[in-house]
């Protein structure tokens, strides 16, 4: 098992290098001279030229990229913000806990809503509950989450005045953002859980469990669920990644000071190191999350575990 985890971690390195490459390339080809942006409009051409040399911007692409990687790996340094002049890593780390909390709350909403609904839908296939939750799930998948966020502000903040429309400080503040970011994932997890459950319920070993005289509730929770949740687990992991991305929109709507908001502001100010740093950082988080899910897999599914012994 340790060997497996180690191997997976090693496999992550080329992927991360690839992500860094893409991110760097995009920054490289972005129109506009970073030195000029940093110094502002008042700077003389001579000053800009000097800064360019200092930053190494006059050197070939490949040299610049290796320097970027070296700084990233050795010093955890991916540049400084043009605006605040803070190191990008510091700026992101300040904001990251908020984004992580938002995404985690979203996953929590999605799992708590999606898995029970999916199970009940599958066990009562073709019932009214099943049809209703399938239509709701389809609407949930179809609803743009930023629109849902705005509409929930209109209803719950403006009209009813129950919940605050911005910020992320207290549990009351977190309700609307968590629902906004989690709804579409809840819908996806509902659909996945249902179809996975339907598949499992028809298996022979479920009949075996019933033939033992086991209670239907235990048949579902002990025998069916454990099998049905294996594919759902992958989806939960993927959703976590989408939610990290979706945080950009949700944070914008609710004015939440997270990485996403930081990136959107940075785009408007053409503060590219922050944008690229944010993408890199969230992509790394996403990859680690998927790795974690793969490892969890092995604990849930003995067939996979014995492959890696």
């Amino acid at each position: 098992m340790h060997k497996y985890i180690l191997r997976r971690l090693l496999l992550l390195i080329p992927v991360m290098l690839g992500v860094a490459f893409i991110v760097f390339t995009m920054m490289y080809f972005t129109p506009g001279d970073p030195a000029a942006i940093m110094l502002g409009e008042a700077a003389s051409e001579h000053d800009v030229e000097r800064l360019r040399e200092e930053m190494g911007l006059d050197r070939p692409f490949i040299v610049q990229f290796s320097t970027y990687i070296k700084n990233l790996v050795v010093h955890q340094d991916i540049g400084r913000s043009y605006q605040s002049k803070k190191p990008v890593v510091t700026a992101i780390l300040e904001r990251f806990p908020t984004t992580l909390k938002l995404a985690a709350l979203g996953v929590l909403v999605a799992v708590l809503l999606g898995i029970p609904t999916g199970i009940i839908s599958a066990t009562k296939q073709y019932s009214i509950f099943d049809s209703a939750s399938m239509v709701a799930a389809l609407l949930g998948v179809s609803m743009p989450n930023f629109w849902q966020g705005l509409m929930s502000i209109i209803v719950f903040s403006v009209w009813l005045g129950w919940l605050p429309s911005s910020g992320f400080s207290t549990p009351m503040h977190m309700i609307l953002p968590a629902l906004t970011i989690g709804t579409s994932s809840a819908a996806i997890i509902t659909r996945m859980t249902r179809s996975s459950m339907l598949e499992v319920i028809r298996q022979d070993y479920i009949r075996t469990a019933r033939a033992k005289g086991q209670k239907e509730f235990i048949v579902i929770t002990r025998h069916a669920l454990k099998n049905a949740l294996i594919p759902v687990l992958t989806v939960v992991g993927l959703q976590f990644g989408y939610l990290l991305g979706g945080a950009v929109l949700t944070e914008t709507i609710f004015s939440i000071p997270g990485v996403g908001r930081l990136m959107v502001d940075a785009i408007k100010q053409r503060d590219f190191p922050i944008v690229q740093g944010g993408v890199l950082f969230l992509a790394i988080t996403f990859s680690f999350m998927n790795l974690l899910i793969d490892i969890l897999y092995a604990f849930v599914d003995p067939r996979i575990k014995s492959q890696y012994k």
């Binding site: 705005l150 509409m151 403006v158 929109l249 959107v264 785009i267 993408v279 969230l282 992509a283």
Partner: protein, 286 residues
């Protein structure tokens, strides 16, 4: 020679099954209405998309303006109708780009295998490691906003999905006898890929692309919403939402209707996509 003749059978069967699926037909109807209104927007829309009536600013729904007016006194219904042009274009073209690039990469990868396969698939892993909307944001940030760049940005993110589908179809089909037969009569690699492998991978691609168009429209609207998509006065649904947000306290209609338009479109595409999946592969149906 006459492939058309053999092909008609299975597709007719798919269509027959699809027709029986009421939800899928509702989805298809929604999409057809949208395409229709996009094409004939000039005739259907009661006003032009940029007709400003400053005396009638920020009005709620009324008989003159069914869905109200925005902060420049423009008719929201008309802007939504014109907006379907933008959204459908972005959706279909972005998916088109993704299929063209992803499909080619997947076919090459599956067909030639070995090293090339490894390189291409690792590249896809890298793309998959970046959550879609973030990838699109950074591409648009680099290329600049505008219709064309949004299409590219949204398209690139969905390349890996198509590459994987086509690759796995190729891998299963490659070993089958009719490919051996084609090779035996001296067909070129290009011919085998385009005449034999692509048609056989079509079913999963159709399903994926229907859902993909939905995803692309959502992403594009999201980009516009954070100010990275289209610039005014382009009537784009996400951009309209973004404007509406500034008037959210007193003029809910500016936010509600453009979002509803997005939702109905995505809903239609999802219904159709689910129906197509069931119709193309009845074994998957529960």
């Amino acid at each position: 020679m006459n492939k058309q003749g053999q092909k008609r059978g299975p597709w007719r069967e798919v269509w027959r099954r699809l027709k029986q699926n009421k939800a899928a037909m509702v989805g298809l109807a929604i999409i057809l209405i949208l395409v229709f209104s996009a094409i004939f927007a000039d005739f259907i829309a009661p006003y032009g998309y940029d007709d400003q009536d400053l005396k009638a600013r920020l009005q709620g729904p009324s008989m003159q303006h069914f869905l109200g007016t925005d902060n420049f006194g423009r008719d929201i219904l008309s802007r939504i109708i014109y907006g379907s042009r933008v959204s459908l274009q972005v959706g279909f073209i972005a998916v088109g780009i993704a299929i063209a690039v992803g499909g080619t990469l997947g076919a090459i990868s599956g067909y030639y295998g070995k090293r090339l396969d490894n390189v291409i698939m690792r590249l896809m892993d890298v793309l998959l490691a970046i959550p879609g909307i973030l990838l699109a944001i950074s591409i648009v940030a680099a290329l600049g906003s505008g219709l064309q760049n949004v299409m590219i940005a949204v398209g690139i993110g969905s390349i890996p999905g198509y590459a994987r589908i086509v690759r796995s179809s190729v891998l299963t089909i490659r070993e089958q006898e009719f490919i051996e037969a084609a090779r035996a009569v001296g067909a070129s690699d290009f011919r085998i890929i385009t005449k034999h492998i692509i048609p056989n991978a079509l079913a999963p691609i159709i399903v994926q692309s229907t859902l993909g168009v939905a995803g692309a429209i959502l992403s594009a609207a999201g980009l516009s919403f954070i100010g990275l998509g289209f610039q005014p006065p382009t009537p784009e649904w996400g951009a309209m939402l973004s404007t509406g947000r500034n008037f959210i306290r007193d003029h809910w209609h500016m936010t509600a209707f453009p979002g509803l338009a997005i939702m109905i479109t995505i809903f239609g595409l999802n219904l159709l996509g689910d129906g197509l999946r069931d119709a193309l592969d009845p074994r998957l149906k529960n």
